[in-house]
Symmetry: C2
Subunit: 275 residues, 2 copies
C-alpha cells in the first residue's frame, strides 16, 4: 500500500478495525500497512478511540509491549440498546401479529438483518467479558441472531439440527421435553461440530419455559462442553415461576400477554435492562 496521509489512514484504520472485532491487531500491522511510525499510529488510534466512545459503538483496548496491539470491542451504549429494545417492543405490539392459538408472528422482524445486527451487538456487549469459544443455536429462527452475535464476538456458530442430516456426519441426538407443552422432541449435533470443553454461548429468538434451551444444555453435557451464557431476543413472561427451567439468561424483550379477544399484545424491555 502506498504511504497514506493521516486523513486517509484514519478512514482505512476505522474500516479495518470495524471488520475485525475482538481481534488483537499488532501496531506493526498498521505501521507496515501505511509505512508510518508507530507513534503516528498511536495518535491515530487515540482519535478513533475517542470517536467510537462518543458514538457509543465500542471500545479500543490498547495492549502495550512486544505482544501488544489494539483490539476493537463492540459495545452498544445502554441508551442506544434501550432505544432499540423499545422500538422492538413497539413493533411486536402491532395487533396484526396475533396468530391462531395466541402465537405471535415475528418472522418479518427476524428477517431484518439490521435489527438482528443491533440485537447481536447488545448480546456482544452483554457477554463481552465472558470466556466463550462458540455461539450455539438450534434451527431455525434463532440462526440470524446467533450469527449476528458471533460476528461481533469473532466466534464461530454451531448449529443444532431438529433431525439428523446426512450432510452432518455422525451426530449425537437427545430427546428433550418442551417445558410448556410437555411434548417430546429430538435435537441432534454433529460430532465434529463441537470440541470437548468448549465454552458455549446459547442464543435463541424466543424462550417460553426454556425447554429448548435446556435441551441444548443437555446436549452440551454429551460433548463435555460448558454453558458460558444464554441470550434470548424475546422471553415469555406468561410462565409460572415453578415452570421456568432456567434462571440465568439475558433477554432483550419480555412478552407478558397476548390477548386474542381484545387483540392486545404486551411487550416490555427484557431483563438486560433491569441490572
Amino acid at each position: 500500500m502506498k504511504k497514506l496521509k493521516r486523513s486517509e489512514r484514519l478512514v482505512d484504520m476505522t474500516q479495518y478495525l470495524l471488520s475485525e472485532p475482538h481481534t488483537l491487531i499488532p501496531l506493526t500491522t498498521f505501521a507496515e500497512r501505511y509505512g508510518s511510525a508507530k507513534s503516528s499510529i498511536s495518535e491515530d488510534l487515540t482519535i478513533i478511540k475517542e470517536v467510537f466512545e462518543n458514538d457509543g459503538i465500542g471500545e479500543l483496548n490498547t495492549l502495550a509491549g512486544a505482544a501488544g496491539g489494539v483490539k476493537y470491542i463492540p459495545k452498544l451504549r445502554n441508551d442506544h440498546a434501550l432505544s432499540f429494545a423499545e422500538e422492538l417492543c413497539r413493533k411486536l405490539q402491532q395487533t396484526d401479529r396475533i396468530l391462531p392459538g395466541g402465537y405471535l408472528y415475528m418472522s418479518d422482524l427476524l428477517g431484518e438483518p439490521s435489527l438482528m445486527n443491533e440485537a447481536g451487538k447488545i448480546f456482544a456487549t452483554a457477554f463481552a467479558d465472558r470466556e466463550i469459544d462458540v455461539v450455539m443455536t438450534v434451527e431455525t429462527k434463532g440462526i440470524p441472531l446467533a450469527y449476528a452475535t458471533a460476528a461481533q464476538l469473532n466466534l464461530p456458530v454451531v448449529l443444532v439440527r431438529r433431525d439428523h442430516q446426512v450432510t452432518e456426519g455422525s451426530a449425537v441426538s437427545i430427546n428433550y421435553v418442551s417445558g410448556s407443552h410437555k411434548s417430546i422432541h429430538t435435537m441432534s449435533l454433529s460430532r465434529r461440530a463441537l470440541k470437548e470443553h468448549s465454552r458455549v454461548l446459547i442464543v435463541d429468538d424466543f424462550m417460553k419455559a426454556g425447554g429448548t434451551i435446556q435441551g441444548m444444555m443437555d446436549l452440551l453435557v454429551e460433548f463435555n462442553a460448558e454453558v458460558a451464557g444464554v441470550g434470548v431476543l424475546l422471553e415469555s413472561g406468561a410462565v409460572e415461576s415453578e415452570e421456568r427451567l432456567l434462571q440465568n439468561y439475558t433477554s432483550l424483550a419480555r412478552l407478558s400477554d397476548v390477548d386474542s379477544k381484545s387483540k392486545t399484545i404486551t411487550v416490555s424491555p427484557g431483563n438486560y435492562f433491569e441490572k
Copy 2:
C-alpha cells in the same frame, strides 16, 4: 453531537457509511451531525471515496441536487474475491470432509461468520445493479449466506420452511422434485412473508441439479413474484447438463468430484470468475 474536527469526522463518517450500505444519506444529515458546511462534508467524502476504492471494498456514489446525497455500495474487488474463492476451495478439498455416500461436510465453514460475510459481499457485488426487493433462501444451511448478502444490499430476508409452522400463520405450500434423487419434498412460505410483484434474489449454500432452487422459483409464481437472480456458494459440477434444471445462476465455487476411494475432493472457483 459536538462540532468535530476533520480527523474525527472522517472516523465517524466511515463507520456511519459502512453501517448503512445501499442507503442514500443526504449531505445535510452529515452537515447537521457535525455542525459543518456541506463543502467540508464533500471534501471529507472525496477522501473516504478514494480510500474505499484503493481498499477495494466499495464505491461511494454521490448524487447531486436537492434529493441528493451519498450512497455506499459495497463491492469486493475481483482479486480479493478470487483469493477468497481459492481459499474456500482449498478448505473444501480437505480430505476429512468426505462423509458416507460421498457427501461433503461443510458446516464448519458455514459456521464462520467472517467467511459468510465475505461470500455475502461477493454476491452483493455480483447483484449490486439488479433491482431487488428481498433475498430468499430455504432452511437451513443457506440462511447465514442469505443474511450476509441481504445485510450488504440493505434488504430483508424471506425464509422458506420445509414444514408449515404454527408461528408463520397461513402459508402456501408446494411440492417439488429434487433434481438428482427424483424424490418429492415440500416447502412452504408464509402468506405475509412476501408482497406481490416482489423481485427476489435466491441464495443457497449448495446446488446440485437445482431442484430446490427450482422449487423456490415455483413458489414465487404462487406469490406473483419474480426471480431477480440466483446465487449459490457451491455448485456441483458432477451433473449431466440435461439434468441441470437452471442455467442462470452465479456460483462462487464448483465441486467437480468427490472420490471416496482415493479420498480426493476437487473444487475450483465458480462461474462468477468466468466472465
